[in-house]
């Protein structure tokens, strides 16, 4: 592998307001990629990716079929934003890799990648703390270290390429079952060109004490990431998975289209936490869905702050009796951003319950959208859904939309949906200002208060990170 040749200077000067370096994610290294599928998408791209990854023939076949589905499906612009048309699929790189094997210890991680993490502001202490980290640098995991205890419990935690190679018997059984290739245009795209992502299997009865974490990074212009994550929690097990994202800023569009599948078998619990902070030129079109079997519980905690356009509607298929699904969603849309997020709850068994709480904040000309589906089919009983959507508009030209769809059949189920749109009350701001806070501080505090009850459900470090990100986003939004 060639050494690092040059560091691109940060475009903006450092601005340490509220203790945060705004330019922290605003850099990129010129890296020579050992494997590069070039720009554009064709059958050859897919064959290339598959051969580089030395995949079994059934996977290549799966990919090629998915590619055809992707080309056949129209852009969903009859309901989604026209901004999708700005994506030029032929200008995107679909696979990059430095060819390195996943590393087990920190010392083995190449220096340049370490530097990238340093610039991201992950403190030394935290890096050590993040023992179970699966840090993804571009397509392949650059660093992966399964915590000893986790491995001892029989938990498999690796990247999906490794999972496919080493645990095909588990992988194949669940792969593509929760989200079929043809689910939507972007899940088809992911199925054709996926690389990276995590594979987790938790054996029956095992409760993983430590949350499993993965950091993602995009580090090449016009390069899209297509992770494929599959998490299987066997009967009675529990696992928490976290992902956080940050990407350098680039002038041309980047595409990120992940597929995340969760399977919670009888009595299992999965919690999936995301803090998404891609750069403002990234299209983040993600399909996330889980299947909850009898007495199982799946909880999505989803926080979207970055990207140009995010379209992400985490879903739960409540397949077994008494299964529970929950989506907690926070979205913050600033100038030039559109956070199109929401949730899907598909009830498919008696006595299943689901809860959706979505809060969005629109700053400047930002636009946030809630889109949801709640589906309770015929002849089920005792199903309940609760949906709450609250939107906060900061500036006079901010925008928010709400588009829920609720279908209920029969008289033995109950659903309720409520949504409200408001601004930060002037009284509240006045009260805080009269106690010596600046308007910006007061606004920041009010916004943090608005999401506080949701943010509290995040693990400590994510909650702190979120608060900082909101402070940062709120800068300059008033006055």
């Amino acid at each position: 592998m060639k050494p690092l040749t040059e560091i691109e200077p940060a475009v903006e000067t450092e601005n340490p307001v509220v203790g945060i370096d705004q330019t922290a994610g605003n850099f990129s290294y010129k890296v020579d990629y050992a494997f590069d599928a070039g720009t554009g998408l064709s059958e050859d791209t897919v064959r290339y990716i598959s051969s580089v990854k030395k995949e079994a023939p059934w996977i290549l076949e799966f990919r090629l079929k998915a590619l055809k589905t992707f080309f056949d499906k129209p852009m969903p612009t009859h309901w989604a934003t026209k901004d999708l048309e700005a994506i030029d699929f032929q200008k995107i790189r679909y696979y990059l890799s430095q060819g390195q094997q996943p590393k087990r210890t920190w010392d083995e991680v190449p220096d340049d990648i370490k530097k990238t993490f340093e610039r991201l502001g992950i403190p030394e202490q935290e890096r050590k703390f993040l023992a179970g980290v699966e840090a993804q640098f571009d397509s392949e995991a650059a660093y992966s270290n399964i915590k000893e205890i986790v491995a001892k419990q029989g938990v498999i935690f690796c990247n999906s390429t490794e999972g496919l190679r080493e645990h095909p018997e588990i992988f194949k059984k669940f792969f593509g079952k929760v989200i079929p290739t043809g689910d939507n245009k972007f899940s088809a795209l992911n199925s054709a060109v996926f690389s990276g992502g995590s594979f987790i299997y938790v054996p029956p009865g095992v409760k993983v004490a430590q949350p499993l974490q993965a950091y993602f990074r995009i580090n090449a212009e016009n390069f899209g990431q297509f992770e494929r994550t599959l998490i299987i929690a066997d009967e009675g097990s529990e696992v928490v998975y976290m992902e956080g994202c940050t990407a350098p800023k680039f002038s041309t569009s980047t595409l990120h289209s992940a597929v995340v599948e969760l399977v919670a078998l009888k009595g299992a619990k999965i919690q999936y936490i995301t803090v998404q902070n891609w750069a403002n030129n990234v299209f983040n079109l993600v399909t996330k869905r889980g299947v909850a079997h009898e007495d199982a519980e799946i909880k999505w905690i989803d926080c979207n702050i970055g990207s140009r356009l995010t379209m992400k509607y985490p879903g739960v298929v409540l397949k077994g009796k008494r299964a529970r699904g929950e989506v907690l969603s926070i979205a913050l849309a600033n100038d030039g951003q559109h956070q199109d997020t929401g949730a899907k709850m598909i009830h498919a068994a008696d006595d299943t319950t689901s809860n959706i709480i979505a809060k969005s904040i629109s700053v400047g000309q930002g636009r946030s959208t809630y889109r949801g589906v709640v589906h309770i089919p015929k002849h089920l009983k005792g199903c309940k859904n609760n949906t709450e959507c609250d939107a906060l508009l900061i500036n006079t030209n901010s925008r928010t939309d709400t588009y829920p769809a609720i279908s209920v059949r029969g008289d033995k189920n109950a659903t309720q949906h409520e949504a409200s749109v408001s601004k930060v009350s002037e009284d509240m701001i006045f009260y805080m200002q009269s106690r010596g806070l600046t308007e910006a501080q007061a606004m920041s505090l009010a916004v943090n208060g608005f999401i506080n009850d949701l943010a509290r459900q995040f693990p400590m470090e994510y909650s702190v990170e979120l608060k900082r990100l909101i402070d940062l986003e709120m800068e300059g939004s008033v006055g």
């Binding site: 829920p404 033995k412 949906h417």
Partner: protein, 445 residues
């Protein structure tokens, strides 16, 4: 194989007009030959739009959840006048004046137009007469608003075949104390009707109009494609009630366009009871400060009926308010769709908008779909929406039963309590009682 072959349309081009062929249109136009040329031109243009637009498709968001396979333009004929006995409605007694239309044609009226005009200056006449005598008002208000809710093809069809309807004009400062009612009947098998009611309330005027849609024979299949335009001038108060009670074999479309000017108050209440498949589109524009629109609907769905209600309330000016309450009671295998959207334009600060859809599930086979939407582009607003779908509250039922009320009676009381929230908004007491009793009969049957 045979069923598959049958379900295929004969050819895409043939299917675009169905029974509403060019010949049928030419005949309809001939019946309107005495009307102004500009109106006939508009009708011709509308027919061309109708004939070229495709039928709604699955990918059209405006038709999400709707059953498209039962939408048909085939097997109908344009209704023309037949002398028929119309039973005197109980409403005649409580309304100031009535107009009756049978199969698109004016039939009878209770008070002569001249008499009403002499008293208050109110014009209550047929659209045909208004087209000749009040062309300016018609040009400004008849079908003047855009179609925004997905039924472009059917609104074009309505305009093309609209032969006659009611025209109500209340001049500046005049308050019509008694309600005015309009009856639209369809009679004969396979008859297609295109009823229309246009209400214009000038500055500070006040008026209540009630529209009734009925099939003469309960067993006939009808095609009804009607509309109403409500224009509320500055400071006016306009109340519009509509009772849709077509036969259970009818395919029904209704389009409403409401415009509320400064400080105007509009209340529209639609009661849906008839038809096998009924689509109702309601489009409210709050164009000037202080305007208020109250959008109410009550649906009693039974059998395999499908009620498809789409609403749009646009707040175009600051300090406007709207309140939407759509209640559905679902029995048997019935299906309802409510799709509502509140739009707040960028400068419409201080908007207060509310949207609520309540579905009362009275059967295990019924299906309720709700799509309550918001599009907000101003920050100093209060916009909320809520939707619930559930059966009767068991605790309330228990409470009544604990006081010795029989279960069946308790259920009825609670259902009517559910309806009363909407019906209670009708200020005219007699009208309220009459409508309540009609719904009571519908519900019991």
């Amino acid at each position: 194989m045979s069923t598959f072959a049958q379900s295929l349309p004969t050819s895409a081009a043939d299917n675009l007009t169905g029974s509403f062929t060019r010949e049928a249109f030419a005949q309809s136009l001939a019946r309107c030959a005495h009307l102004p040329a500009w109106w006939l031109d508009r009708k011709r243009a509308a027919y061309e739009r109708f004939a070229s637009l495709p039928m709604p498709t699955r990918t059209n968001e405006g038709w999400r959840f709707s059953n498209l396979s039962t939408l048909t333009l085939d097997g109908f004929k344009i209704g023309t006048f037949v002398p028929t006995e119309i039973s005197v409605s109980p409403f005649s007694a409580i309304t100031a004046a009535t107009l009756t239309f049978v199969n698109n044609t004016f039939a009878t009226r209770t008070a002569p137009a001249a008499e009403i005009a002499a008293k208050h200056g109110i014009i209550f006449d047929t659209l045909q007469n208004a087209l000749i005598h009040h062309a300016d008002l018609i040009k400004a208000h008849l079908l003047a608003q855009p179609t925004k809710l997905g039924s472009d093809k059917f609104t074009a069809l309505h305009e093309a075949f609209l032969e006659d309807g009611a025209f109500i004009y209340v001049p500046k400062g005049v308050e019509a104390t008694q309600p005015i009612s309009v009856f639209h009947y369809a009679t004969g098998p396979g008859v297609a009707v295109f009823p229309h009611t246009l209400v214009i309330a000038e500055e500070n005027a006040k008026v209540t109009v009630a529209d009734f849609f009925r099939s003469k024979e309960a067993s006939s299949t009808h095609f009804a494609c009607g509309g109403n335009d409500l224009y509320a001038g500055h400071g006016s108060q306009l109340t519009y009630l509509a009772m849709q009670d077509w036969s259970d074999q009818t395919l029904s479309f209704q389009f409403n366009a409401t415009v509320a000017r400064r400080d105007a108050k509009v209340l529209s209440l639609n009661i849906h009871a008839g038809a096998c498949q009924a689509r109702h589109e309601s489009f409210s524009q709050l164009q000037a400060p202080g305007a208020h629109s109250e959008m109410l609907a009550l649906t009693v769905a039974h059998g395999a009926q499908e009620f498809d209600q789409r609403t749009l309330q646009i707040h175009q000016a600051p300090n406007t308010s709207s309140n939407l309450l759509y209640k559905n009671a679902l029995m048997d295998q019935s299906k309802t769709i409510f799709s509502g959207l509140i739009v707040v334009d960028p400068d419409a600060q201080k908007t207060d908008a509310y949207q609520s859809n309540r579905n009362l599930m009275l059967s295990d086979e019924a299906e309720a779909n709700s799509l309550p939407g918001l599009e907000i582009q101003a920050n100093d607003v209060r916009c909320t929406h809520g939707t619930t779908s559930a059966r009767i509250d068991r605790e309330q039922e228990f409470y009544l039963e604990a006081r010795g009320i029989k279960p069946a009676q308790a259920q009825e009381l609670l259902v009517f309590g559910f309806f009363e929230e909407v019906l209670g908004k009708i200020e005219n007491e007699q009208l309220h009682d009459q409508l309540t009793s009609i719904i009571r009969d519908k519900f019991k049957a």
